[in-house]
Every structure is written in C-alpha cells, then in structure tokens.
Assembly symmetry: C2
Homo-oligomer: 287 residues x 2
C-alpha cells in the first residue's frame, strides 16, 4: 500500500479554556504531529497492522518525522486546531502550503514510480500545494501501475476523474462542489464514470459501483472528534481493495473503522474496542 500526501502538514493542536472571538487566549498545551490526509491514512493502516509506505513532500520541519518523503526547501503548511476545555467542537485553521520547484516535482515522480511499482493500492489524498497544476493527481493516476483511490476536492478531483481512478471518496460538500449543485444520491454517483464511496457524515456512507450500490449506516450517533474519520474510512477502502474483499464488506468495514476513529482523540488513529463493536453493529443494504 502506498499513500501520497503532496500537501503534508504539521498538525498543531492548541488546548485553551474557551474560544472567545476577538479575545486573547493563553494556550495551555501545544501538541504537534505530522499530518495531512495521506499521513493519517498510513497511520491508520499501520495501526491495523497493514504494511504501508507513505510519501509526498516534506518541508524542513517535517523531514525527520516523515522519512519516506521528498524533502523540499519551502515550509510545509501548518494546521492549527483549537480545542476547548469547556467546549465541544474543534476549530481548525489550515495554511495553503509551500511552493514546489520543478526539481522537487521530478524527485516526487521518481519516488512515486519506484514505490507504486510495488504497491497493491495507491491512495492519493488531500489538497495540492499552491503552484502544482490541477491535473497533478491525474498525472499520478495515469502513471500508477496499481489501482488508485483518490480523495481530494475541487479542480484536482475534477481533473483526477478524467484519468479514471479505481475509486473516489468525496464527502457531501465535495460532491456538491463537483456537481455544482446539491447531489441527487445515489443517481449522481453513477454519472461520474468511476466507483464512488461517498461519506455522509453521521448518516454513514454510500458506495456506487457498476456492480451495485450499497448504503451503510453506523448504529447511532457517535460522539467524539470527527477529524481524521474520513481518512480512516479511506484506509479501510484501501485495505479492502488490496485484499479483494466484496464491495458491501468493504463499505461496512469503512463505516465501522471511521466511527471508531471518531472515538479516538487524534486523527490517524482509531479506538480498537469501538472498531470491534461497530463491526457487528453497522448495517448495509443494497439500494
């Protein structure tokens, strides 16, 4: 398994008392971890015990913590998540990202060709750093000898579709932007030309393929931290494709793992007990 994170991040979490717009807040605790959607996917696969290699671009702050990545001169972006002691939600700020030089891009292509040659599934995740063309993911999909799962948004998703990935994983907002209107589900998924695993937040997920369409639902509302839940969902899709599991099994597993990730405080990990519990509690129906 290979995950590619072109816009990796240093995820910074600030714990504060209460967020009050317009005020000054002393940060009680600062936590940092390498992040970005593909890094999270790889971390979840590692926790599942599934062999995975992660690559992408890493600025100076990230090179030692992301050894499989292509080092770049620019600073990798930071994401800052504000977590309140007395509040419930997390407030997130995401920087745009570094400028990639032509030499750095060529180094990434070389690394990609080398790693994708041995991968059973390739996962391309997240936004593109500024300056990389919108067809960047399309280029990687075309080069990949392995089936590709694409999880991105906007123009990179639109262009990526033309290169026919094995599966895309939009959420409702991303589907809405892709279609330019509220999606009509599952009908709209079948117009995109590739299998679609659409996450529907608390409503579970929908999988539309030429072989059939399925809907999976979690047993009920899952309280916790939804950051990274989509990446756990993608990790399960990747494992399912790599292991040639049937589509409804893949979908149910992805919804269970995603809900177990909500139960875990940090992105890139899941609650193993909750995963086991949800595995038997998720319902799947053909639609």
């Amino acid at each position: 398994m290979l995950t590619v994170t072109l816009n990796a991040a240093l995820d910074v979490t600030y714990q504060i008392s209460t967020l009050s717009p317009g005020d000054t807040h002393r940060v009680h605790h600062v936590h940092t971890r390498p992040g970005g959607k593909g890094v999270n996917v790889a971390d979840v696969l590692t926790q599942l015990g599934h062999p995975v290699t992660a690559t992408g671009f890493a600025g100076p702050e990230l090179t030692t913590r992301l050894p499989g990545f292509v080092p770049i001169t620019g600073q990798s972006r930071r994401t800052v998540t504000i977590v309140e002691q007395t509040g419930t939600g997390a407030t997130l700020f995401t920087e745009p990202g570094p400028v990639i030089s032509p030499g750095e891009w060529q180094a990434l292509l070389d690394r990609f060709d080398q790693l994708a040659a041995h991968a059973r599934v390739v996962v391309l995740s997240g936004s593109l750093p500024p300056g990389l063309p919108a067809d960047t993911y399309a280029q990687l999909i075309t080069r990949s000898p392995a089936p590709v799962i694409l999880d991105t948004d906007g123009d990179p998703l639109r262009h990526g579709l033309t290169a026919r990935p094995a599966l895309i994983k939009p959420n409702l907002d991303e589907l809405t932007r892709l279609l330019g209107r509220e999606p009509d589900l599952p009908a709209d998924c079948h117009t995109l030309g590739v299998p679609v695993a659409a996450t529907l937040g608390a409503g579970g997920a929908l999988l539309a393929t030429p072989d059939g369409t399925w809907r999976a639902r979690p047993p009920g509302p899952v309280p916790g931290n939804p950051t990274g839940a989509g990446d756990a969902f993608t990790a399960a899709l990747a494992r399912g494709l790599a292991c040639h599991q049937p589509w409804p099994t893949v979908l149910a597993d992805a919804v269970a793992l995603s809900a177990a990730a909500v139960r875990s405080p940090a992105a890139g990990s899941f609650d193993p007990a909750a995963y086991q519990e949800f595995t038997t509690a998720v319902t799947v129906e053909e639609s």
Copy 2:
C-alpha cells in the same frame, strides 16, 4: 536603549474570511514576523529613528531574524492571530514558550551585562518562558546600571517591583491582578513604591510619580488594531526617560504614539501622519 525579550515569539497572522467556532477555515494569507513585546518596542524606536539594541532568547526559527539574541535549543513560542476579512476584532492564541537551560540563562546574563553597560534606558517586556523563576526580572533590574522600565504581569511584576525599577507600565487588567482587586486610581499607583504609567485603553493613560500625577487622553476613539499599542506606549516612555523629558511631556507623547500604533495594521509600527496629528490633539491634566 536596550530592550530585553526573554519570551520572544514568531508572530503568525492568519487572514480568513469569517471566524466560526467549531468550523474549518482556509487561511488565505499567512504573515510572519519576529515578535514579543520588547521586539515591538525596539521596532517602534527604530521607526522613530532612535538607536536601540534588542536582546533576549531566540529559538532556531528566530535566530537569523533576531541577530542580537542569545540562541537557544528550544523552540521560541508562536503567537497566532486570526484576522477576519468581514470581522472587526483580532483573535489571538499565545503559546507558553520554550524551556531555558542554565547555560542559556548564563549566556543571557553575560549579554545583558555587556549591553546594559552602554544603555541609557533598559526595557524589560513581556512574559517569562516556562521554568525561569518569577524573580528573573528582579535579578536583571538589580544588575542594570541604567534605569529600567518594566512591562510585565503577575508574579514577574510583583517580584520585579521589589527591585525598584524606574517605571512600570501596567494596563488595567495587570493592575487589577497586581492589587488583587479593582484599582482605585490614581491612589493605588502611589502605594507601589515606583513611578507607574498605567494604560487605560481608550481612556488614555495615567502617570503617577513622586513629582506629580497626570492624566492624558487621546482626542477620541481611535479605530484600528490595538495589538502592539502598549509597546508603542512603552517605546515613547523609554525615549522620554533617555532624553530626560518632563513627565507630562513623556505621558502625552506616549498616548499619541500609542494611538498612532492603533492606526497601523501591524504590531511594532505606527502611522507617522497619525502620530503627528495626535501629538497636538492629546490633552494632559494634572490630577
């Protein structure tokens, strides 16, 4: 003039559309500058054309941008300011700061002794990084051959007072914490044993000295960015002390420069036209 910033920061500003707690925000623009109160004071003095040296501790991210500082192994803190395109206020998050080793502290003392010997006024500004004792500023005041302006809060201010700085510059919140109750002004200032220049936000400022007590007011409400206004105020106090200006002149100048800093979008600078305008418009009366 020497300014000391023991807890210097990389000030990061995020421009976003609208702050919505619990949501994810794409940052449109990231701006960074070396900050911390003493750095801001030095930047204002430089803009005034007044010779100034700045020192303190600088982590790896800041060493090249703060050449007069003692390099440390720990990361200098970051402050993150969220500025909204459609909002008015700035929302600020301040990290606690790095741990200082005994060797780094000794290097700072050596640098301080060397620089303070040639300074007409020393300005000690801002919080202490975690681990430095609360009497850190008191130690520096005792060592300083030049008069010291102390601008800090809480225990470092309480301890600093015992070493009798030439002047302290609390705001109303800091005075309240120092006294343990709402201040009775100007009476309470005279109980502190040293001259007090108290900033009163939009209400101007109060200067209580053994030679007299004065109140200065800006001409009216000044819209803009109040971050750094207190540091411009301190810069004017430092210049006034260095140039042996009379107290009421120093106070009026500090209120004018502080209001001109509100008119400037960034901390560490002021609007020169506004400064000129406010210089004649600020009123001072003995109280």
